[in-house]
């Protein structure tokens, strides 16, 4: 017999064990909760509040959330990867359970009864014979500034009353009434406004600049130039915008980097210097011999975050100390890169979070933090606010990398899969700040002493991967080999965008599954189920198919149905999507029917909102989006040249949650992306009898496929 491993602290308590860092009980009758995870429009603060309220036995209204700051908050890394519920939620649950125990022990001592006889309701502690006290009375005498102990038992799922039920988002009313909740608005009055002049193309160097026209604009406080970084600081936002435009007009630049060939991205990707790595391999001896091989190639373009709000930050220098207010996903990571740029100690920088517009990955939020810090040096002691233009947001934030994928399957004479080979070519999906020796903030590449723009890497597959995220199929194939070819040059800056490589990989895998099923004459759902061993995977596929009335839908001309399935990162949520698509002059996704298993559900409506939003955003990526460029510059830097899905184009979405109380709670933010694009591609093939292999799935490409057939 082996002894069970000793219990461990859950989630981010491992790296931030001090309980007092997570919560503080105030004698005035409230609890201050300090998550290191941040609100990016996904509703995480509400879900974490639910968990804390439940476990600590206080009403949610008593919980006050402290904005994450490097001055005090636990370091929870980056708010990304659909990990907040897992890593922060589990830490908060444990911290609250242990703190509750500490308060009960203190109450027991004071009241002279056994702690097991005490109950807590909304902070009021009661025991036999009407003895009573409260958290608030005990707040000053109970010390929770101690390290968490492993093995604390949290409440059983059935005993939870708040977590598990839909709760209204705490941040919504202020946003609906136009009150000051966004960083764009909270720090607005009394600040100076900064703007940056961007080069015409990536890598271009400033040759000359005439400041005369800009200096003539009323309200100019400073013009800042450091190498090819040029910016302006002004008393008003409009003056800053006008001065920036005047400076831009006067500037001359060298040519920049040569950009890829937009019209032949697959060839371009494959012909770069590459680092090739087999990321997964399996060989099982089988008696059947391959009768034939089938090979297909897929591509996706570079895509943009395209947040409706532009990136914004405020910075202030006080002597040698720097304060930055930011809506980035990782305050400690940004602090690390700012310290590298300015050659200063991290302890002299405080980075504090404020909410921004929707964030779907590593966008310009970190970059604008450096912009504001560089410009604020020209106005010591003053807060300087910088907000990017639309052209900066769509043209200069990191993009999701273009990808090429080749899938080859050896089939036996019955058409079944014997071996599966999957090769992908892509830039790295991770150039986030705070992870290397060299900063990855945009303006750092343009300073007098520039930092090198190093090609992005990928996280290891064991923690979710990057380009290879979900490249390993969920299906039971006898043999398979998955190879990731990472580009070692990066003329177009790339990083993490919602679901990373999973979007293209699931599109390719699920398209291929349909191609093989169709050739065999087998129903795509039945074919998948035959290759899925995981019961929870089967359950979502079956639920989505059942709810969409799969196989029994009325057939209409030009209308098709398709299914897509993936378990996000092969570690997270299980999700299956059935798409109903109408192909006419436009490609119209009429409806998406989704089944999802995120383990134990904390906030059902929050899960539906995330899955539905993810599916609609994925529809936009699937049908419309591509960053365009010529050999010198990005040309898709307005909404006209980078269109996204409109209200009249959004599909109806139905979400069925398969709740698993007691199972580990998983994130919902990214699970729908891959399955949605796959389902749409398969539905188009079902409708038209031809298949599109390149994203986005446009009417032109469908027509070209029909003509080629």
């Amino acid at each position: 017999m082996t002894t069970p491993p000793p219990p461990q602290l859950p989630g981010n308590l491992k790296s931030n064990p001090r309980l007092g860092q997570w919560l503080r009980v105030d004698p005035q009758g409230f609890v201050e909760l300090s998550p290191g995870k941040v609100e990016i429009g996904q509703g995480i603060l509400t879900a974490l509040t639910q968990i804390a309220a439940d476990e600590f036995d206080v009403a949610p209204e008593r919980i006050r959330l402290k904005p994450a700051t490097t001055a005090a908050s636990p370091n929870e890394g980056v708010t990304s990867g659909s990990l907040s519920i897992q890593d922060s939620g589990s830490a908060i649950r444990h911290a609250c359970a242990q703190a509750r125990g500490l308060f009960l022990a203190s109450a027991a001592e004071r009241l002279g009864v056994d702690a097991s006889q005490l109950t807590v309701e909304d902070g009021a502690i009661r025991g036999p014979g009407n003895v009573a006290t409260s958290y608030w009375e005990l707040a000053e005498s109970v010390d929770i500034n101690l390290d968490a102990t492993p093995g604390i038992k949290a409440k059983a799922p059935a005993a939870r009353k708040i977590a598990g039920a839909s709760a209204a988002r705490l941040d919504l009313p202020e946003k609906v009434f136009g009150q000051r909740r966004f960083i764009h608005d909270t720090l607005y009055e009394g600040v100076l406004h900064g703007r940056v002049v961007r080069p015409p193309s990536p890598g271009a160097k400033l040759l000359s600049l005439d400041e005369t026209a800009a200096r003539n604009i009323d309200g100019i406080a400073a013009i800042v130039r450091d190498g090819s970084f040029v910016g302006v600081v002004a008393d008003s936002e409009l003056a800053a915008v006008r001065a920036r435009d005047a400076l831009a007009k006067s500037a001359t630049w060298s040519e920049g980097l040569e950009l890829p060939d937009f019209h032949n991205l697959a060839n371009w990707l494959k012909s770069r210097p590459l680092e090739s790595k087999v990321v997964a391999e399996k060989k099982t001896a089988v008696s059947a011999v391959p009768a034939r091989a089938i090979r297909r190639e897929f591509t996706r373009p570079y895509t943009a975050h395209a947040s409706v709000g532009t990136s914004c930050a405020v910075a202030q220098w006080q002597g040698d100390k720097l304060n930055v207010w930011t809506h980035c996903q990782g305050i400690y990571n940004l602090r690390a890169d700012l310290a590298l740029v300015f050659g200063m100690s991290e302890s002299d920088i405080v980075v504090e979070h404020r909410e921004g517009a929707g964030c779907y990955g590593h966008n310009g939020a970190d970059d604008v933090g450096l912009d504001a810090s560089l410009l604020a040096r020209a106005a010591p002691g003053r807060q300087v606010r910088v907000a990017w233009s639309r052209e900066e947001e769509l043209g200069w934030g990191p993009f999701s990398p273009a990808m090429a994928i080749a899938v080859e399957a050896d089939l036996d004479d019955a058409g079944d899969i014997l071996q599966w080979r999957f090769d992908l070519w892509s830039n790295g999906h991770a150039t986030r700040p705070g992870r290397g020796d060299s900063p990855t903030l945009l303006s750092g590449y343009y300073l007098e002493k520039p930092f090198p723009m190093l090609p992005g890497g990928n996280m290891p597959l064991a923690t979710g991967g990057g380009a290879d995220r979900n490249a390993v199929p969920a299906y039971a194939f006898a043999s398979q080999r998955i190879t990731n070819h990472r580009l070692l040059e990066m003329p177009i800056r790339t990083s993490a965008l919602r679901s990373l490589g999973a979007f293209a990989n699931v599109f390719a895998i699920e398209s291929m599954m349909d191609i093989i099923a169709t050739e065999k004459g087998e129903d795509p759902v039945a074919f998948r189920l035959r290759h899925l061993e995981d019961a929870r995977a089967r359950a979502v596929v079956e639920a989505a198919a059942r709810r969409a009335n799969w196989g029994k839908q009325k057939r209409e001309d030009g209308v098709g149905y398709g299914i897509g399935y993936a378990k996000y990162k092969n570690l997270g949520a299980w999700c299956a999507v059935v798409a109903e698509v109408e192909c006419g002059r436009d490609i119209r996704v009429r409806k998406l029917t989704i089944a999802v298993d995120v383990g134990e559900v904390i906030n059902p409506d929050g899960v539906v909102n995330q899955i539905e939003g993810g599916a609609i955003q994925a529809t936009s990526h699937a049908l419309k989006e591509a960053v365009t460029f010529d050999r010198e510059r990005i040309t898709s830097d307005t909404w006209e040249t980078y269109p996204i899905l409109k209200f009249s184009e959004a599909p109806a979405v139905e979400v069925e949650i398969i709740n698993r109380p007691g199972e580990r709670a998983l994130g919902a933010g990214e699970g729908a992306h891959g399955p949605t694009v796959a389902a749409i591609a398969n539905a188009i093939a079902d409708a038209m009898g031809v298949r599109v292999y390149d994203l986005p799935l446009t009417p032109d490409r469908v027509i070209a496929a029909v003509n080629a057939a």
Partner: protein, 160 residues
């Protein structure tokens, strides 16, 4: 280049000293302290900065001050407040209709203008009325439901 421009903002008359070519957006935010109206693109392509000008939704990023002299401007703050919410605001919260919420001020403006003209819009009517507003989070369907819910509440209110 400065001039004084008279207009009505959220029901109150204002005299604004500004360059007449200044976009209304910056005047609302910087001089009137009304930061609920958001910058999105500066090119009238996204709807984030919509305000009502004499009842019509207009992109304030692209509307020079001289063109609103003597007119009535309503921003999201003028639609309602926590104490006296517009039915749209009540419905948006009831439907939990947003994710990040950055676009929602401008969407309320388009929706308010629609409901003024059409008290009983279909799903399609609402979507068409909101096509000038971009939402990136994918909250479209919830927002459409909220607008129709507000329409119903307003019709009920009118009957009562």
């Amino acid at each position: 280049m400065s001039d004084t421009i008279q207009l009505t903002v959220n029901g109150g008359s204002r005299s604004i000293n500004c360059d007449p070519s200044s976009p209304l957006l910056y005047v609302l935010r910087e001089q009137c302290g009304l930061t609920g109206t958001h910058f999105g693109c500066g090119l009238n392509q996204c709807g984030a900065c919509f305000v009502l000008v004499d009842g019509q939704p207009l992109a304030s990023c692209d509307t020079p001050m001289w063109s609103v002299a003597g007119k009535s401007v309503v921003t999201v703050e003028g639609l309602g407040s926590p104490g006296k919410p517009h039915p749209l605001q009540t419905a948006l919260i009831e439907e939990q209709a947003l994710q990040c919420g950055y676009c929602i001020s401008g969407i309320q403006i388009s929706a308010a203008a629609l409901l003024e003209k059409n008290p009983d819009p279909t799903d399609k009517d609402v979507r068409e009325a909101l096509d000038g507003n971009l939402c990136r989070c994918g909250a479209h369907n919830r927002i459409v439901r909220a607008v129709r819910r507000a329409a119903e509440a307003m019709r009920e209110g009118a009957k009562a």
